[in-house]
Symmetry: C2
Amino acid sequence: MFHEPIDGEDPLNVVELIRKKREGKSLTEEEFRFLLSGYVKGRVPDYQISSFLMACYFRGMSEEETFVFTEVMLHSGETVDLSDVPGVKVDKHSTGGVGDKISLLVAPIVAACGVPVPMISGRGLGHTGGTLDKLDSIPGFRTNLSIAEYRRIIGEIGVVMIGQTSEIAPADKKIYALRDVTGTIESIPLIASSIMSKKLATGINGLVLDVKTGRGAFMQTPEDSTRLAEMMVRIGNHFGLETMAFITDMNQPLGMTIGNWLEMVESVECLRGTRGIGDASSDLMELTHLLAAHMLLLGKRVKRYEEGIALSKQSVKDGSAYRKFLELVAIQGGDVSAIENLDQYLLPRHIIEIRVREGGFVAGIDPLELGMTSILLGAGRQRAEDLIDHKAGIILKKRVGERVEDREVVALFHTDREEVIPAARERITNAFLVTATEPTRPPLIRTMIDKEGVHDWP
Amino acid sequence: MFHEPIDGEDPLNVVELIRKKREGKSLTEEEFRFLLSGYVKGRVPDYQISSFLMACYFRGMSEEETFVFTEVMLHSGETVDLSDVPGVKVDKHSTGGVGDKISLLVAPIVAACGVPVPMISGRGLGHTGGTLDKLDSIPGFRTNLSIAEYRRIIGEIGVVMIGQTSEIAPADKKIYALRDVTGTIESIPLIASSIMSKKLATGINGLVLDVKTGRGAFMQTPEDSTRLAEMMVRIGNHFGLETMAFITDMNQPLGMTIGNWLEMVESVECLRGTRGIGDASSDLMELTHLLAAHMLLLGKRVKRYEEGIALSKQSVKDGSAYRKFLELVAIQGGDVSAIENLDQYLLPRHIIEIRVREGGFVAGIDPLELGMTSILLGAGRQRAEDLIDHKAGIILKKRVGERVEDREVVALFHTDREEVIPAARERITNAFLVTATEPTRPPLIRTMIDKEGVHDWP
């Protein structure tokens, strides 16, 4: 009934390997490679790999197995050699959150400070936004560059932002697509290997990971987030990529905007220095400078992270980060005037205010609910083929810990979809938890993880 | 990348159901039916069901889920209506062991006592033998009858023995084939549903299950065997099929022969009454009479099982069971003279003796190792397409607990394959554990399970 394997491979062997994993034993490097390479080359069918992946979900993977998994995916495609681009190349990767626009900030900041940032980003996934979708909100901006263009631009201006190309880790794409339809996405070793195989292929020398934790993150507990971060740090360093990670809070959205163009506006204003200092976007900039500082550290531009923070702030203050961003927009085909004149962008048909019922303190802003609602407004995809309305999204007026008055406006939302307004209004209103007593603010940065281990931060 | 579902079913729903099971939650009847019917009808692809089955392996299934699973498979094909055949129809099913030839015995015995036995059997699986393969060792015997022939024969002589037809529970066949290649065979609820869906389709009114436990069984611990038995008893009774089970020992082969024609010879001799009384085949007959007695009980032929045992023994003594067997062989196209003249059957090229090295007591006879070795000799299939050599097999001369002398013959093996003799000799020798002190004999029958629960036996 099931198709025979090509090349005379013994199907019994595959079943034995599935059973071995199912029983909680670790596969040898050879066995793991046989299975995965067999899948990538089409010798092992989907239905065997999907039950194997589910067994991995339950049984986990040994460190050696994650290395092999990563390596098979890494070597399934092209690996970019950037050794002729001067400098230590660094990247930052976030595991995904709501309102997380930090890539738009750190890439130009770090490049402006002299460390090349060749950045490969993704699209929105589930309730989270994606850097590529945000970049798409700039008219004309092209993210689907070839490897050749990527190499040229990083050499020319020290920063480039593209999407994953079909040349990089195609096996990861194949396995991810299978995981997506078989309920096997949420496995820490599978997530770690998937992310790292792509990062290892891009020719970078250093990587700072921003591993989100909390209700708006894919890992909702600090324990799971730490396990994921540790695994990625170990994989990176095993393959010679200096890798470190921060566990950061995702129990409320990051920054004051959710939605592609709205997040672009907040980012541009922060890059210009007209926002993010002493206001509600300060949290966003605190994390931006921390991550940028560690990218500068890995990039050998500074010796201590405090120096990096000073340098990062300076690049905003002196306008060099903003100019680098404009340079990036221009070289990737984007309309620079749209960035220079943020207020000339199209407005949505509807801008609706959200008010709290009674005054008190904002004790919680549910990022998962706001992420899901922003999709409803048009800011994300419900199906892979859906088009995004870049104007759509949510603007927050308050953060957790702030005081609100009776009937005060705590948020606005932008949409062209009249029919979703009642549901969106209700969901956003309910996403705000208001209490009579002042809540404790969750720490934004919890832990730092490097090859020496897990460290409390600061 | 993965094919779109037909009929516009939402693939997200399937993933949600996989995730729900993965998280250890029970699916509703509607959800479970949606998933399985979708698979059976080709709307849900293999790779989703295989990860779902692996999640079921880890998370188990609720009673309600096993009922739905069974029902979907049962109703995927024809259900036979035998209500116009007079009498209460009963069957016996064994979960598979080594040397287990009890079907060949109980079917004619119970039929000879007046209770119709329409029996559907299987082929050898793994290290275990199958009733169909044993019946095939009778020249001319046909087991691939149509449902119409099955109905005719059971009406005519009160016993019929066939294989699963493509009309009965085709969904089980499809799911079993997928489980076989995805490492998801060894799940108790999946095994229970699979067996019971076929049994429920055959038109019987009562079922006695012989659930093997021990090294030569698929369930190696009494706990697992009991769980499987309980689940099957619950499923049967839920669907109105009076079902009971015995947990019986499979830590040594059942009876004194392993291999198709050798087992046929032992069975025929036991049916004739020339063997199985006060000799080494007594264990085999003890279990045969116990199971036959409970089939007579379910068949309303007797009121107490002790009566059933007396009746079962009487049918052997008076020759009626043997005559019924000859009638069965004849009506299904078999050569009756081969049964009547057992010694005229072809002999194998090689008959090799196995001797113990030193005397003592037989403390163990490894049924798994003997089952695997019998396949090597030609008695079973290494691949589905392999032909069986019906002459091949092993004859035991001792049972666990018996005394042996230095260099005494404890077994013989029959094969045409000269090249396997050294390996077979070594494996069979090593399958015998001889100790200086007398071992305790394992109890043959451990527990009885009916709809009231689990009972120690006797």
